[in-house]
Symmetry: C2
Subunit: 460 residues, 2 copies
């Protein structure tokens, strides 16, 4: 019996034979996540059902020094769940119970495999809001959201995933279970492990239960849009809005490439002559929503916006947001390969960054549309190309290298919400410096001395 067969047998003893797979269908399905061009070949896919099972799997894997790659729905965009060194993909999708939504304590308790939208809906049914709103929310799991520290459209006002993690149960390599935090906004007993695990990309521990903070749902919301001749005008409008005393819930932008692609695809009447489109939204009580949308509209007009428009009904607001949601599918249909990237700059540098992206695209003869969260400076430059055109793929790699370098130069980040994964590991030291990366490695070792958790990623 070879090593994998022996491991298979031991793991089957823990989770049941039906929950360890190594048939070619499973091995193929779990060789990739949503990241283009990245793949790895796991040896086994294991589907645990409980914390005890996760602990037993990690004990066995640690003894055998076999890699374990925790995984939710696989919507990752940085190759974070790709098994680059083989080993066990630990799929947490069976641990999908939403255990509690408590209106008094304003918390939800859930297993990591619960999908984001399930929590959103359960909270909404009780008059509550779970603000983190990653683009993949209909598919992604909360465990994955926490592991990646997902962001989304509401981060400017409501923050990101880390701002909603109150308690974590997690299993360390070797099988030790730790619990950090509580149903508490205030808790400073010990180093803040729950927030250290948030964004640790499956490299430190496997999260098995989460307590997440909820907030009362706002009574109303509203949406508007503004066209600008130049993206730099839109960027100045963003600064003007934020300096005016308004913190909008949504402040999204599309560059001209994206406007063009969306209109081509969705035909919703966008103005294709504009250089940029800003979509803004606010929530709260009706007077605040009305007042803030008017203030945002005025800031846009002061920076030369044309056709500023505020939706007069929820249906119309939905249509405006549709323009934003249609960007990725619209761009995707322009080429067989869509590389959706993720870089953040201080919001005062957005125009400079998008200018750079457009210049890089021209120089490398690439189609790159940029859209994203203008309010928090989180940009999604997205290249579309023919995957068979190897030279174009190579040019895209060079282009994104230059884009990341610019983000670092502008005191931004190579990743705002998609994670480092394998795609950006080579750039991490450029942003953080060697001493910082060495410290990350020592922290990794404090959790995972044998380096079995998601090797080849953060902390490696």
């Amino acid at each position: 019996m070879n090593a994998i067969d022996s491991l298979h047998q031991r793991l089957a003893g823990v989770v049941g034979a039906a929950n360890v797979r190594h048939d070619s269908g499973a091995l193929l399905s779990y060789a990739r996540d949503a990241t283009p061009l990245q793949r790895g070949n796991p040896d086994l896919i294991v589907f645990p059902h409980s914390t005890d099972e996760v602990a037993a799997v990690l004990r066995i894997a640690d003894e055998a020094r076999v890699p374990v790659i925790p995984r939710g729905a696989g919507t990752n965009l940085s190759g974070g769940t790709v098994a680059v060194n083989g080993g066990i993909v630990l799929a947490l999708t069976r641990m999908n119970r939403l255990l509690e939504v408590d209106e008094g304590d304003l918390v939800a308790v859930c297993q990591p495999g619960v999908r984001t939208i399930e929590l959103e809906d359960a909270a909404s049914a009780k008059g509550l809001l779970f603000p983190p709103d990653p683009g993949s929310h209909t598919t992604s799991t909360l465990g994955g959201n926490v592991a990646e520290c997902s962001g989304g459209l509401r981060a400017l006002k409501y923050g990101v995933m880390r701002d909603y993690v109150l308690w974590v149960e997690a299993v360390l390599p070797g099988g030790v279970v730790i619990r950090s935090g509580g149903r508490l906004v205030k808790d400073v007993a010990g180093y803040d492990l729950r927030r250290l695990l948030c964004g640790s990309e499956g490299t430190l521990a496997v999260m098995t239960e989460l307590t997440l903070r909820l907030v009362p749902a706002p009574a109303c919301s509203g949406t508007g849009m503004a066209y600008f001749a130049e993206l730099s005008d839109a960027a100045r409008a963003v600064s003007r809005v934020l300096s005016s005393g308004v913190l909008p819930v949504t402040l999204e932008f599309l560059d001209d490439v994206c406007i063009d692609a969306v209109e081509e695809y969705a035909q919703i009447g966008l103005n294709r002559t504009a250089g940029a489109l800003l979509i803004f939204g606010q929530d709260g009580d009706q007077p605040t929503v009305d007042h803030d949308l008017t203030r945002i509209a005025r800031s846009c007009e002061a920076e030369g916006a044309r056709n500023v428009h505020i939706a007069s009904s929820p249906e119309e607001a939905g249509e405006l947001l549709q323009a934003r949601r249609a960007v990725l599918p619209s761009l995707s249909r322009l080429g067989g390969l869509t590389i959706l990237e993720d870089a953040t700059v201080p919001r005062s540098r957005i125009a400079e960054m998008v200018d750079h992206i457009q210049a890089v695209a021209r120089r490398h003869r690439l189609k790159i549309g940029t859209f994203g969260h203008a309010g928090d400076g989180n940009l999604h430059p997205t290249a579309v190309l023919d995957p068979a055109d190897e030279d174009a793929v190579r040019r895209a790699e060079l282009a994104f290298e230059e884009i990341f370098a610019k983000a670092i130069e502008l005191h931004g980040s190579i990743t705002g919400e998609h994670g480092v994964g394998i795609v950006k590991l080579a750039f991490l030291e450029r942003q953080l410096g060697p001493d910082h990366v060495a410290l990350l490695r020592r922290i990794k070792t404090a959790f995972d001395p044998h380096g079995i958790l998601n090797p080849g990623k953060l902390g490696s």
Copy 2:
């Protein structure tokens, strides 16, 4: 020349002779922080002026294996800045420059020695709000606030210090400087060191520069109060308020001991027959403030509140808040020794916890008043006694041990905002368990292999 003299000489070469002190006045002043009953005797007090000087001091101290205790204004309430093993107290009060307040990026950049109130005022002057609001804000420094992850009165709505730390420059033992984060709401490049340092109580690194998030200042605010016959009624009102869709900026309570003490001292017309007083506040646009205060008042009435009152002017609102602010001085004058403690429970367990505290006080024949942040379950049971009465001091120690045990039993925390320090180190393992504490020690070692930073505290 003995070892201390030699160290003194080397440090004087770095920061200048005037900035290394070991005169008896300095040694006495820096032997204590604001924590009663705790003291330690440092060998030297060093006042660096720059990041380079901090790095040089940490290099020398690490080589010599001499403890370094970073310290701001010394308002700590858990003995966190007491030099239990001697060594160097590194007083960061000369690094007190507020470098920038940027309305476009909604950030402030400052050195660690800037006082909290200075930032509050500078932000306010530009129409911005820095929400963390520790009780010591007129004295405490921002570096200390971050190191302790300070909370305060606005945490329910706005969160605590960790929610406002965007970028940190910090020096590791040995003198290596790392920088984490940026002017970015979204940044997931690497483990989240800035939030790991938040609440690390000076045991991992010395922070030398901070970028902090600001928010637009709300246009208006309002305050109200409600008396209850029993504290359990007030606690139920808190749950009802939060379930009703309102997230108040302030939701504070006083038990009958505190009401009595405040009225005795300040004579502001409080009703001494009440079992509890709830003070609530909201900020935002005027219609939202009015609407929310009315909703909060109705929730209080539905739980049997009498005399619900909403202030009709900012002056009157100030008077209501005065009742809350007067609690600590009022209690303090009842005895020579005031032990202000800090425990958090899920907000649904507040009544149970306060009942327990009052029973413990009776059993140990102690005067303990409890007040605090009802909205986030953060309670401040405060004992007043005669410091010369050794038996009473001993009974108070036993009482707080029982109070912390109850907080743990109710899935709360031994500390919500004051830190572990030396006062609660013995209770930490009870809350977290031995495996968790062992992991904290390994994280400590990843930062500080020779254990020179604030030894005898977190991570020891």
